[in-house]
C-alpha cells in the first residue's frame, strides 16, 4: 500500500495536470489541493507555483487573500460560527467567546493543540432567519446559545475520548 503522503502528492500532480498547468486556474487548483491536505502547506504551494510557472509570492498572495484557504493545518472538527449582521446582533460574539474559553483558542490560534477542533468565524451563512447559526463540520445548528455551543463541542470531545475539553 502506498503511503498517505504519496497518495496526496500523486493527487496534487493529477489536479495540476487536469487544469493543464494553467496559471489562470490557480484558484480551483488550490481549492482541490486544499481538499487533499485540509490546508495549504507552504512546500505544496511552492510546488504548485513551480508547475504553473508563477512566482510563489503571487500564489501565497492569492491563498492568503481568501478566507476559504487555510494556511495552517485545521483540526479534525471545524466549528464555523456566523458573525454576519443578523447573527452578530443575536449574540454570536458571546458564543464565540464561550467557545474560545472552552477550547483555549483565539482568533490567531484557532486550532486546539491536539488538532481536534478549529474555531472560525464566517461573515454570513445566508441563514439569517435562524440566527445565530453555527456549523460543525457540515451540520448546521440554529438559534445557538453559548451553553448549547459548548455542550455540542463537549459531546464531540467525549466521542473522541478527549477528556481535556471538560477540564
Amino acid at each position: 500500500m502506498p503511503t498517505v503522503m504519496l497518495r496526496k502528492f500523486e493527487k496534487v500532480c493529477a489536479i495540476i495536470e487536469k487544469y493543464g498547468n494553467d496559471p489562470a486556474k490557480l484558484i480551483p487548483i488550490l481549492q482541490e489541493v486544499q481538499h487533499e491536505y485540509r490546508y495549504l502547506p507552504e512546500e505544496v504551494m511552492i510546488f504548485v507555483a513551480t508547475t504553473l510557472g508563477m512566482s510563489p509570492a503571487k500564489v501565497f498572495g492569492v491563498a492568503s487573500f481568501y478566507a476559504h484557504f487555510a494556511l495552517q493545518p485545521k483540526g479534525k472538527h471545524v466549528v464555523r460560527l456566523c458573525d454576519g449582521t443578523a447573527c452578530h446582533v443575536k449574540g454570536s460574539d458571546g458564543i464565540l467567546q464561550a467557545l474560545y474559553k472552552k477550547l483555549g483558542v483565539d482568533a490567531q490560534k484557532a486550532t486546539t493543540p491536539d488538532m481536534l477542533f478549529t474555531v472560525e468565524t464566517v461573515a454570513c451563512l445566508g441563514a439569517c432567519g435562524i440566527a445565530p447559526v453555527m456549523v460543525i463540520n457540515d451540520v448546521v445548528y440554529s438559534q445557538v446559545t453559548p451553553e448549547r455551543a459548548v455542550a455540542l463541542v463537549e459531546e464531540i470531545a467525549m466521542q473522541e475520548g478527549a477528556g481535556h475539553v471538560s477540564a
Binding site: P2, M5, T51, G53, A57, G61, S64
Partner: protein, 672 residues
C-alpha cells in the same frame, strides 16, 4: 480626417493627443496631480486615491484610471477634491511609521513631499499597525514594512518590468502587507537585488542598504590604505543631489570630495571597463571560431547574472566568463597595484561607488575572494556618496575640480559609455572591429546599438560575415528573449543585458529623481563624456598596454584568466521545506530526495519521484526509507537531480534511480 477631441479641464479645452488617461492629460496642462501608485512605466492600479478629480455627471473619480473622452468636463481643484485628497493622505499617514527626521528617505520621500504640498498638518487617526522587524539580512536592500503605504509600485516593478515577482501583496483588508512569499526575507527568495523597487518606492519602506559607517571607519584607520573606484554612471547623476541638472558631469568635484574625505587614491571603474572590453572582446572572437556556445551574454550586470543562475541555469555557459569592471578593478588594485605601492593587500581597502544596489551583493560573492582577501571591500551607492559628502560638511558646489589618479584613473570613452544601455555592446564592437578587420575604425560610434527600446536588434559586418546582436534592458525583456532563444525562434551571436531600465544610469543607487527627463539627460551626459575624451577605443588605453606587458601577459592568457575571469553556479530561487512523500521515523533512515525545482521539474523529476516512492512502497521499505520532494540542489543545468543518502545523481533516469536505491538498501542490509 480625424477631428481633434477635447476635454475641458478647469474650464479650458485641452486636446487629447494620445494620452492614456486623464492624469497625463491634466499634467500636460501644467497642473500637478498628486499620486503614489501611478508610475508611468507600470500598469494603472488606482489604489492610492490621491489623483481624484471631479467629472461633471460622474462625481469624484481617479484620473489615473479614467480614459480621456470627448466632452468630459473635469475640475481638478474643487473643495471636495481638496478635502478627499487630504483625508486620503491623512489615512495613509495614520498607519505610516512617521519617523521622518531619522528616515534615509527624508527630503526625497514622496509621502513627505505630498503631505507638505497638500497642507496636511495633523493626523487625527490612530495607527492600527503593530510594529514588525526590518528585513535587512541581504547585502543590498532594506525592507521596512512599517513605512509601507501599500501603493504596490514595488510589486508591479518587480513583476512587470523585471519579470521576477519576488514580492507581492498578501492577506486582505487591514491585514494587507507587501512581502516576499510566505513572509520570508528577501535573501530567501528569488530577488536579484536590482533595487528597482527602492527606486519607485515613494517612502522609506524599501531603501538601498547603507555601508557608509564601515567606509568611514576604514578611512579613519591609520593602518589602512583606502582606494576608491567611481563607476561611469555616478558622474552624471551625483550632481543632482547638489542642485546640478541630470547629466551634468561632476567628475572633478567628486574626486576633490573623495580626496577631502581621506581616500588615498581615486580611480575610475572606466579603466577596468576598458580592461573588460579587451578580455570580453577577445572571448567573443574566440567563441566565434570555436565550439563554445553562442550567443555570448555580457556578464557585467550582477542582477542579470543572478537571474541567469536562478532562472536559466542551462544557459550559464553562454555568460561571458569575464568579471564585471567592478570586480576586475578590485582584483587589479589588490593584486597588482598594492604591491606597486609597497603595501600588503590586507592593508588595502577597496571601496566602489556604484549606481547599483546589486553591486553590493556582487562584491560579497565568494568567487571574488583571492587568497583570503576580498577584491572589493565595500560598495556605496551614488546616494550614499552624496550622504557622505553632506556628513563631512563638504560644500560640493564650491569645490574646485581635481583629477583622477594614475594609472587606474585613465580611461577611454569606451569605458565611460558602459553606464548606458548599449554601451558595453558598442565598446566591444569598437574593439572587435579593429581586431577582426585588422584596420583602424575611423568613426567609433555605433548608433545602431544605441536607443531607448528595451529590446533592440542590430547586425554588424565583420570580415565579410554578418553577426546578429541584441541589446536588452529590464529583466522582463530578458525573460522574453531567453524564451525565444530556447525555442530557436531567435538566433544571435552576442547579447548585452542590463537589468535596470535604460541601464546603469538608472540604477537603484542613483539619486531619486522626479524629473521626467532625467534618464535621457544622464544617457546624453555619458555619450558626451565619451566625445570629450581623446581616446574612444579600449585597446588604445596606453596604461592597459603597459599592464598587459608588465603583469598580465596576453589578453585572455593564463594570468589574465586567474585575475580577471570567474565562473557561475546554478542557484536555487527559494529556500523552503521539503515535501515528505514517504515518511520514516527511524533514526537511521535512508533519505531519498528528488528535486522538483523548475529545471528538474521540466526535465521530468516528477515521474522519477512517483517511481521511487512507488518502488519503496512496493518493496515494503516504508519503515527504512524516507522519500522527499525537495527544492533545488543547485545542479539545475544537470537535472533531474536526486540524492540517495549522500550520493547525488545528476541527469538521472528511472533505471539509474532504481538501481541506486536498490544498491543503497543492499549496502545497508550488508552493513547490518
Amino acid at each position: 480626417m480625424d477631428q481633434v477631441k477635447y476635454v475641458h479641464i478647469d474650464g479650458r479645452p485641452v486636446p487629447i493627443e494620445g494620452e492614456k488617461n486623464l492624469l497625463d492629460l491634466i499634467r500636460k496642462t501644467g497642473i500637478e496631480i498628486p499620486t503614489f501608485c501611478y508610475v508611468s512605466e507600470l500598469s494603472v492600479y488606482g489604489a492610492c486615491r490621491m489623483c481624484m478629480v471631479e467629472i461633471e455627471g460622474r462625481g469624484l473619480q481617479t484620473s489615473c484610471s479614467t480614459p480621456p473622452e470627448e466632452g468630459l468636463k473635469v475640475r481638478t481643484n474643487t473643495e471636495s477634491v481638496r478635502q478627499i485628497r487630504k483625508v486620503a493622505l491623512e489615512l495613509i499617514l495614520a498607519n505610516h511609521e512617521r519617523e521622518c527626521t531619522t528616515c534615509v528617505k527624508s527630503t526625497s520621500c514622496k509621502l513627505q513631499d505630498l503631505s507638505k504640498k497638500l497642507g496636511v498638518d495633523k493626523v487625527r487617526f490612530r495607527s492600527i499597525q503593530k510594529p514588525v522587524p526590518l528585513d535587512d539580512g541581504n547585502p543590498s536592500i532594506v525592507r521596512n514594512p512599517n513605512k509601507c503605504i501599500l501603493c504596490g509600485d514595488c510589486v508591479r516593478m518587480c513583476e512587470e518590468v523585471q519579470g521576477i515577482g519576488a514580492i507581492d501583496f498578501a492577506y486582505r483588508g487591514h491585514d494587507v502587507v507587501v512581502q516576499p512569499a510566505f513572509g520570508k526575507s528577501l535573501d530567501d527568495v528569488q530577488c536579484v537585488y536590482c533595487g528597482q523597487c527602492t527606486r519607485v518606492c515613494p517612502t522609506g519602506a524599501l531603501t538601498p542598504k547603507s555601508e557608509i559607517d564601515v567606509v568611514c571607519k576604514a578611512l579613519q584607520d591609520p593602518k589602512k590604505t583606502v582606494v576608491v573606484q567611481i563607476a561611469p554612471a555616478v558622474r552624471v547623476a551625483l550632481g543632482e543631489s547638489f542642485g546640478y541638472q541630470a547629466g551634468e558631469l561632476t567628475t572633478g568635484q567628486i574626486v576633490a570630495a573623495l580626496k577631502m574625505m581621506g581616500f588615498r587614491k581615486v580611480f575610475d571603474t572606466c579603466f577596468s571597463a576598458d580592461l573588460t572590453i579587451l578580455e570580453e572582446g577577445n572571448e567573443f572572437i574566440k567563441r566565434l571560431s570555436s565550439d563554445l556556445p553562442l550567443p555570448m551574454f555580457t556578464s557585467c550586470c550582477p542582477s542579470w547574472v543572478k537571474y541567469v543562475e536562478q532562472h536559466h541555469p542551462d544557459l550559464i555557459p553562454h555568460l561571458s566568463t569575464c568579471r564585471s569592471p567592478q570586480q576586475m578593478f578590485g582584483s587589479m588594485a589588490k593584486n597588482v597595484f598594492a604591491p606597486e605601492l609597497g603595501i600588503k593587500k590586507e592593508d588595502m581597502v577597496v571601496v566602489s561607488i556604484m549606481p547599483c544596489t546589486a553591486k553590493k551583493f556582487e562584491a560579497k560573492r565568494p568567487e571574488f575572494v583571492t587568497d583570503g582577501a576580498v577584491d572589493v571591500d565595500h560598495v556605496i551607492t551614488t546616494q550614499e556618496l552624496a550622504q557622505m559628502i553632506n556628513e563631512h560638511g563638504i560644500q560640493f558646489r564650491g569645490l574646485k575640480p581635481e583629477s583622477l589618479d594614475m594609472p587606474m584613473g585613465f580611461k577611454t570613452g569606451a569605458g565611460v559609455i558602459f553606464g548606458n544601455t548599449g554601451g558595453v555592446m558598442e565598446a566591444t564592437l569598437r574593439y572587435v572591429y579593429e581586431k577582426v578587420e585588422k584596420k583602424t575604425l575611423e568613426n567609433p560610434d555605433f548608433h545602431e546599438v544605441r536607443g531607448e527600446a528595451g529590446i533592440r536588434e542590430a547586425e554588424v559586418q565583420l570580415a565579410g560575415k554578418t553577426y546578429k546582436l541584441a541589446v536588452i534592458h529590464s529583466l522582463a525583456n530578458a525573460k522574453a528573449i531567453m524564451a525565444k532563444i530556447k525555442s530557436g525562434e531567435k538566433k544571435y551571436h552576442f547579447i548585452e543585458f542590463m537589468a535596470c531600465p535604460a541601464g546603469c544610469i538608472n540604477g537603484a543607487g542613483q539619486p531619486v529623481s522626479f524629473d521626467p527627463g532625467y534618464r535621457r539627460n544622464r544617457t546624453k551626459g555619458l555619450y558626451e563624456a565619451d566625445k570629450m575624451l581623446q581616446l574612444h577605443k579600449s585597446q588604445d588605453n596606453p596604461y592597459l598596454k603597459e599592464l598587459y606587458a608588465a603583469t598580465l601577459g596576453e589578453v585572455g592568457g593564463v594570468k589574465a584568466h586567474h585575475l580577471l575571469h570567474t565562473h557561475y553556479k546554478a542557484r536555487r530561487r527559494m529556500k523552503g521545506k521539503s515535501m515528505v512523500i514517504v515518511d520514516s521515523k527511524a533514526d537511521d533512515k535512508l533519505e531519498v530526495r528528488v528535486c522538483v525545482g523548475t529545471s528538474c521539474y521540466l526535465r521530468g523529476s516528477q515521474d522519477l519521484l512517483h517511481h521511487l516512492a512507488r518502488h519503496v512502497a512496493d518493496k515494503g521499505l516504508q519503515g527504512q526509507v524516507q522519500v522527499k520532494a525537495t527544492f533545488c540542489f543547485e545542479k539545475c543545468d544537470k537535472g533531474p537531480t536526486i540524492k540517495i543518502g549522500d550520493k547525488k545523481i545528476s541527469h538521472c533516469n528511472m533505471a539509474q534511480a532504481t538501481a541506486a536505491l536498490d544498491q543503497a538498501i543492499e549496502a545497508r542490509l550488508a552493513g547490518v
